[in-house]
Subunit: 473 residues, 2 copies
């Protein structure tokens, strides 16, 4: 088991800074989440005056808690943290995570001094620190979360994230695509435990099959590089580096006080280590989605099937720009396709690649057969299907969409190569609802879904590159 395993399995947690007020952000995020997630250890709200918060007995300080306190969640003001840290040391607390901000990220002497002070007290007292200026731990299998609306099921994705907000948005974006996490750790200013510790942990964590990272800077470059190298040799690692431009580096400094470093160095380092670099949270999640549903795919030759000639042209341009290729279909494959969509039957169709089904995209006997022929042609590595939801020239009813999804799921059984769906709509709420529900069905059937070709091709291109690169190694 990795050394830091104990961090994710505390037997008791004290929440310092929760308020009796039911609208309290801290109470909602940190205390109520433990209750809602059914955390099985003891939970101790700490408050000087309150006697009960969220139905739990309150203690005036952690020193007053009768039993052992394994883990402390701290959300009091920065100025009060040295005293709390001394109490943690006295109580033999193993880990404290500090939501509290107002330390080195302020760029002022007082905050820097305070962060040094608490780090020193923690080190001397044998307390490990996550943060400050972070959300701490989300570990559904242990019933620990920093948001009560996060999924309660575990998954195989580990996420180390320097930013609290990005850890929140990352989990929410992933949740919308039914991606589940083994553990997420938001670690902010990283005054003690840092990106290297968590990367080492995730490298060896058997519950974690894919590692995602959002890092703004590193305190110990050499160790982090070693950790990245080690992790990437064992499992796929996807990195989102914050602060890749001049102004971004400045934004990083005022966010977590990190030194962002040069993007050229980061990019070439990540590339050398075989780590996928992405540029926003959406891309992070899109790429993870492919690792969840697609088996390794070493080729970049795609087949495209849909019902719009003009979109097909734009899609083709987009995919080629992302480094994917759309091979022409040989005459025997085209002949096969023409048996299903005869030329005279619907003259708007095209059996080149992209295959344009025109109105026949609504014909539920045609779509799955065409997909099978295209996907099973051995010049194609993977296939994309695009459907408009209440959108485009050939838009069906809600029922037609349901049946299209049925036939797609049915067709997937006879296709061994990866397929993905692009569901286009224009944002209108009813279309968004229908698209969301169709997406959920596809995800349950192992078909990744993307909202646009830009997003699909960007992610697929990196997915394919990853396996090409591993093959070369």
């Amino acid at each position: 088991m990795p050394d830091l395993e104990y961090i994710f399995h505390p037997s008791s947690i004290a929440v310092v800074g929760a308020l009796p007020d039911s609208s309290s952000f801290v109470t909602a995020k940190f205390l109520n989440s433990l209750i809602q997630f059914g955390y099985e250890g003891r939970v101790y709200p700490i408050h000087r005056r309150a006697s009960e918060i969220s139905g739990l007995r309150v203690y005036p300080s952690i020193l007053d808690v009768p039993g052992h306190v394994d883990h402390v969640i701290c959300a009091i003001r920065a100025a009060l943290t040295p005293q709390l840290m001394r109490e943690c040391a006295a109580k033999k607390v193993k880990v404290i995570q500090l939501f509290t901000s107002g330390f080195s990220e302020m760029g002022k002497e007082e905050g820097i001094r305070l962060e040094k002070e608490i780090t020193e007290i923690a080190r001397q007292g044998g307390v490990r620190v996550i943060g400050p200026n972070c959300m701490g731990i989300y570990c559904p299998s242990s019933g620990i979360s920093f948001d009560d609306a996060f999924p309660k099921e575990s998954g195989c994705v580990g996420f180390l994230c320097q930013s609290g907000g990005n850890s929140m948005e990352g989990v929410q974006l992933a949740d919308a695509k039914d991606i589940r996490f083994s553990k997420v750790v938001s670690f902010g200013n990283a005054c003690d435990l840092n990106e290297a510790d968590f990367m080492e942990y995730f490298a060896h964590d058997p519950q974690t099959k894919i590692v995602l990272g959002y890092v703004e800077g590193t305190k110990d470059g050499r160790r982090f590089i070693n950790a990245l190298k080690e992790a990437s040799e064992i499992k796929p690692v996807i990195m989102l580096k914050g602060g890749t431009t001049e102004a971004g580096i400045r934004a990083v400094a005022s966010h977590t006080g990190a030194l962002a470093g040069s993007n050229t160095i980061w990019s070439s380092l990540l590339c050398q280590l075989g780590i996928m670099q992405v540029y926003d949270l959406e891309e992070l999640v899109d790429l993870t989605l492919l690792f969840q549903h697609w088996k390794p795919c070493r080729g970049k030759r795609m087949g495209i099937v849909g019902g719009s000639g003009g979109r097909s042209v734009l899609i083709t341009d987009n995919c080629e720009k992302e480094g994917l290729t759309l091979p022409s279909l040989p005459s025997e494959v085209r002949r096969e396709l023409r048996k299903i969509i005869p030329e005279g039957f619907d003259p708007g169709t095209s059996v080149c690649n992209p295959v344009d089904l025109a109105t026949s995209v609504l014909d539920l006997h045609i779509l799955p057969k065409v997909l099978e022929i295209v996907a099973n042609y051995d010049g194609i590595d993977f296939s994309l299907i695009h459907i408009g939801v209440a959108f485009g020239l050939y838009r069906g009813t809600s029922e037609v969409l349901d049946k299209q999804i049925d036939s797609l799921i049915e067709a997937k059984r006879s296709v061994t190569k990866p397929i993905a769906l692009i569901l286009r709509h224009c944002g209108e709420p009813e279309a968004a609802r229908r698209a969301f529900s169709a997406e959920k069905r596809c995800l349950a059937a192992g078909i990744p879904v993307f909202p646009s070709f830009n997003r699909a091709s960007r992610a697929i291109s990196k997915f394919v590159q990853y396996y090409e690169m591993r093959e070369r190694q």
Copy 2:
């Protein structure tokens, strides 16, 4: 008035190929749209056997129509079109638009021959042709549409679009952002009237203030270049060129039979002419949205206000990559901001640029004041606000969102420089619904809204470049 004005104002229309079957695509798109849009001229469905379609009297051929026929919409099989074209000539029809496909875009001798034949008959008979393989005309002020769900109000955007599907999706995407059109023309294979004719028309059409174009290739390069040059001197022109890659050029050939030409030549040509080139329909609409709501903006210095430090970092990187800049705020502006969000009050905040309001993004007294200070600082040319809808660390209720939008609209009154809103959500239907309704309110108040920073920065960057370039000329 431009020469082609009459095309958009026919006094009578015959629809050839509509069927009595209520599920007929052609009846729904072309015939019923005229009825639903309240087209005031005479409408004649043409069918050999039917006596009534959609409540209208049917004639067996256009020659049997008692009065004059100005405009014909043709959706019969390609093989039957030469005969129809002869009848059009005999009936002195001014314009025929052919939805019918199966001509040169098939890449086969028979289709090419047929297209030549109908073009020749049309020319000799004095009939102008739109298409074939197109959707024809959408002109709300005349009550003409190729979709009954298109908006019935007119606007100031003209759109010439070689692809039927892209014209449909373009109008729908624009509609979702309350962008309205003066005229849209989908012209397919362009055997007679082509991109140059329509560009010349839109250049001089007083109803059209912005021209959008989707073109796959040109039949008369010299004339089209002159038309583009002329149009771009009079109004903003945004071009989406289909077929910018090798496979895309192949896709174009099987779509409209056009010769796409080299993208390097197209790109440098458009750049020289001061025409904005975009790469997908979403970008086309995003950029149009800015022209609808923003006054000319010559600077690329942006202010960003929102409630997430980590997102702020990513946003900053993204905007700088798109060529926009985020200047630091001088100490006097930061002091002003700190009067509203005191340091001790919420330590997660940052008053650099991007301004991170942390939880205070939900405080309705703070957001508008901060926005005013940032936007009115003279080192800033425009400002972006980002809000998560049921998304991110600091997500409010539906009521909080409504009030945030209220205060944004209120704040806009005291800000003379452009502002835009980024509404982030994760696709969940209720969030999508709330975002859509918030977006509609902002659009009505003249605030453009984008679903992501990628989309916003990409469009804004081209918008700013456009005015920088015009200043240099």
